[in-house]
Structures are given as C-alpha cells and as structure tokens.
Amino acid sequence: MKEIICIVCPRGCQLTVDEANGYAVTGNGCPRGAAYGKSELQNPTRVLTSTVRLTGAALRRLPVKTDRAIPKGKLREAMALLDTVVAHAPVTEGQVLVADLLGTGANLVATREIPAE
C-alpha cells in the first residue's frame, strides 16, 4: 500500500494505491485519479512545459509543451533537446515543433500563437 497525492487537478486527493492488488486505487475523487494512481507507481509521467528559441518575432522565446505526459525519467533529456530547437514566427498554437519527442509518442507543440513581426 502506498499513499500519494493526486496531481491531476487542483483538488489534491489523497490516494492509496495497493500494489499487491493490481494497483487498486482508493481515495480518488474521479476516474482520472484512479488512472493517475496506477500510472504513478508503475510508470510516472509528467507533461513538460518549457520554452524554445523564437526568431522573426518581437518575443525571443516561444512557450511549448508536450501534448501528452512523458516518462518522468526523460524530462532532463527532453530539456536538453529543447535547447536545440528554434521556432520561426509565425507560429500557430498547437503547431508541432518536434514530432514523437524522444520516441515517447508525445509531440512538442507551441502553446501560444505568435504572428510574424
């Protein structure tokens, strides 16, 4: 049995996850909590949000995210990769900058629309 706090939403439910019993979750306020509890003990994942360099616009950085959670253990590697990415304005929200980031199946996408300068 393991106690964790759910981070799916701001409510912060106290989950109890029973590893010995198929990772059954109790204490969750919604089904998403149950899914989180299961995954957090087996393969913890996080959405990565950061920035990449931007050219051709008044702003110098473009906010980005992975369009789904990626394994926690790959966050550092993903950050190193982001260092090398340069986006060019105009950029649309949701535009894919890197497809299948580090083989995680997640795409790196822009989170702000930036018109050309």
Partner: protein
C-alpha cells in the same frame, strides 16, 4: 461615450468583456496597459489551467488564447499599451470618467456608463515583509523571475532559495531546476504551505527540493550580488528561534510571499474597500459601492484558479449588461455575509435577499482535516458544506440555498466547524 469600459485585458477583463458583449452590450472598450492581451497568463507557461472552465488541461497562454479568440469574434474595441490613470465616478447617474494615457491617443478622458475593474494583482515585495539584511541584486519576486525566464529567456541565477510557498514560487522551483539552476530550499513561515498541494508534489518533491515549514529568512548577505541567506525556524508567533539558523550559499532569493489586489484606482475613486480581501466590497452581482462600477478577478480577491476568475468575471460582465439594460441596483444591498470563526474572507460581502441561491467564494484561515463550513442566518437557518480538508491556500466555493438567503434579515455568518462532521 462608451457603455462599458473594462480595465484590464487579463483573464478577468477578457471574460467580463466577452460576456457583456454576448448579453447585448455594444459600445465596449477594453483597456490594457501591456502590448498584448492575456495578462499574467502569458508568462504562466505551465499546465493545469482550464479543467473547470474548458474540461481540459491547458497552459496559461493556451487558456488566454481561448478568450482572446473569443474576444476577437466580438466587436469589443481594444486599446493596448494604454494605462488608466484615474477613475472619476459620475454623480447622480452622470457618466463615469476614465482618464488614460497611451502613445497613440495621448492623455484622454473617456466617458462611460459602466466600468468593470479587472486590473489584477501584484506581488508582495521584500519591503512588505520588512526582510532584514543587506540589499544586493538577486532578490526577485517569483513573478518577475518568471517573466525573465519564460518571456525573455533569461535565467536570474544559479543557486536559489525560495521564500514563501505560494504557487508561483513552487512553479518557479521546477522551472528553474529544469533550466539548470539548483534550488536549495523552499522556506515557508507558516506551518502549512501557501500553495496547492499538487504543486508541492510535482514542483518540489519531484525534484527533491526540501520544504522548510515554520521557517523564515532572517539575514541576507552580499554587497553587490546576493551571496548568502540565513534561514531560521520560527515559533508559534512567527518569531525566529535563536540557535536554529541554517546558512545557504546562494546567488538568488525568490519571494513568493503573497499577492495584493492592485486597487489604487479603486481607492482613488472612493469605492468602499474590504480590508480582508484588499479589494472592493461587492454584491453577488460583483457591483461595488458605486453604481455601475463592477469588479472581478484578482483585483477583487486573489484567486488560485483562473477558472474561477473567469466564472466570476463572466458574472460581472453579465451584471454590467443587466445594469446597462435598465436593471440597475442603486447601491450595495444591506444583507451582509459575515466572517465567523475560521473564515478569512468571503466574496461577495453583500447579498440581495431576493436573488435565489448565491454562489460564495471564501478562504479559511487555518488547515483542518475533515470539517464543515456552516452558513447560518439571523433567522436561525443553517446550511453545512463538508470537505475532507480545508487550507488557507485553497479558495473554496459554495452555493448558499435560496431559502437561507431569502429568510435572512441582516446577515448570514459563515464559520468553520471541525470534528463531529
């Protein structure tokens, strides 16, 4: 002459303007001091926004983007890089004046029948908490460091201590760690965190950053750039305990020690203020003590979820529309919402008895386990709202039943009740 001027183009102003337009108001001006709409959301590039409002998890810029596109489909006039300098309330039904300054229109006096105040809030600074020690560079409010990092692409330091466990500080602990800085500690003077629990988990625990509760910064060293901070444990009265000092060699101290609604214009206009929220006193329609002037979002009280800012601001926009369409309420209603034991504040502070059920935001002033908030009116009616826990860092929302509101004579009192729940 405008029907409605909305001051502020952050989430509150955007939602209020959109909703007022949807309700049929046509001559609307939105005034924003920055060069872009979206307010502080533009620098909040992390995710976690919009679960209530849009049923999906968005980043700050994405959340702002939804409303900016919504506004783009209306005929609301937008003025960027425009600073409101003064509000002069109209007397006896005369229009209100808003004085603005901008590079394109110069100094202007604008007339309007209604105003929505949506100027947001600012961060408490080192001065506000009279932090002792030297005054080197390297001490930033968390939001200023966030702007440098997320908008401008600069890292403000490499070895970081964070004072205060407000959400922006926690978010910045993670952001700076991922950008290569070493966050040595997060220090909180209270015995509980000021931020959301999930941010403690995903921003501190994920990166093994220690959180020192009941501790504060008691000395700062460095002539030019920060070199060292001393952290001490505090007693129950928040006084440092001698002998508990820990010294951190660091070049950066981030302050996440609270937000203050930015109400200088409100005060100047003579609008009645609530010293608990540092915002205006409002009715359930978000109307202030001056008829035709409404307030919503962080200028009214500091929210921890933008979703609630949007909901509140949409109510303000709708109420401004109703006011303009000939349903004005003369002044603040007399039915008071009082703060009993354990309640830090409520918004609204006043209610019209005949409104039916009433949505109320409030904060408690201590951490509890399972507990209830009890609303009791002066006719002896009560309602209970149970939660597994309460914490000052988390704003709560309840809906008072119509009957409780309707039967109240002068006041309804909210209080926190622990145990026997």
């Amino acid at each position: 002459m405008y029907d409605l001027i909305v001051l502020g183009g952050g989430p509150a102003g955007l939602a209020a303007a959109c909703r007022a337009w949807q309700e049929g108001v046509r001559r609307i001006l939105l005034v924003e001091r920055d060069d872009a709409l979206g307010g502080i959301l533009n620098q909040c590039i992390h995710n976690g926004f919009g679960l209530h409002r849009f049923s999906e998890e968005l980043t700050g810029p994405e959340y702002a983007g939804r409303y900016i596109r919504m506004l783009g489909q209306t005929g609301v006039e937008v003025r960027l890089a425009t600073m409101a300098l003064q509000i002069l309330p109209g007397q006896d039904g005369a229009p209100h004046e808003v004085h603005t300054l901008s590079p394109t229109h110069g100094y202007e006096v604008l007339q309007t029948r209604a105003i929505v105040l949506a100027m947001g809030c600012r961060e408490r600074t080192r001065g506000a908490i009279a932090l002792p020690g030297e005054r080197p560079a390297g001490i930033f409010t968390a939001g200023a460091a966030q702007r440098y990092l997320n908008i401008e692409g600069y890292l403000v330091g490499r070895r970081v201590v964070i004072l205060g466990s407000g959400d922006i500080g926690l978010i910045m602990a993670r952001r700076m760690t991922l950008e290569g800085a070493k966050v040595l500690a997060c220090v909180e003077v209270m015995p509980y965190s000021g931020g959301l629990t999930r941010n403690i988990v995903q921003c501190l625990q994920d990166y093994d950053i220690p959180l020192y509760l009941s501790h504060t910064v008691t000395d700062i060293k460095g002539h030019d750039r920060l070199e060292q901070v001393t952290v001490s444990q505090v007693d129950a009265n928040r006084r440092p305990i001698p002998g508990t000092e820990m010294v951190f060699d660091c070049d950066t101290l981030l302050l996440s020690v609270g937000l203050i609604p930015e109400n200088e214009l409100t005060r100047q206009a003579g609008i009645e203020m609530d010293r608990r929220t540092h915002g205006a006193v409002v009715s359930e329609a978000m109307q202030t003590s001056v008829p035709g002037i409404f307030a919503c979002g962080n200028v009214l009280h500091v929210h921890d979820l933008v979703d609630y800012v949007s909901a509140e601001s949409e109510r303000a926009g709708a109420a401004a529309a109703a006011y303009l369409q000939g349903n004005p309420s003369a002044s603040l209603p007399s039915l008071r919402l009082d703060n009993g034991a354990g309640i830090a504040y409520t918004v609204p502070q006043r209610l019209h008895p005949g409104i039916g059920e009433a949505q109320v935001f409030f904060r408690v002033n201590r951490v509890t386990g399972p507990a209830a908030v009890v609303a009791e009116n002066d006719a002896g009616e009560t309602s209970r709202f149970r939660r597994l826990r309460f914490a000052p860092g988390e704003m709560e929302r309840i809906t008072l039943p119509a009957n409780l509101v309707a039967t109240a004579k002068e006041h309804i009192t909210l209080r926190l009740e622990e145990g026997s729940v």
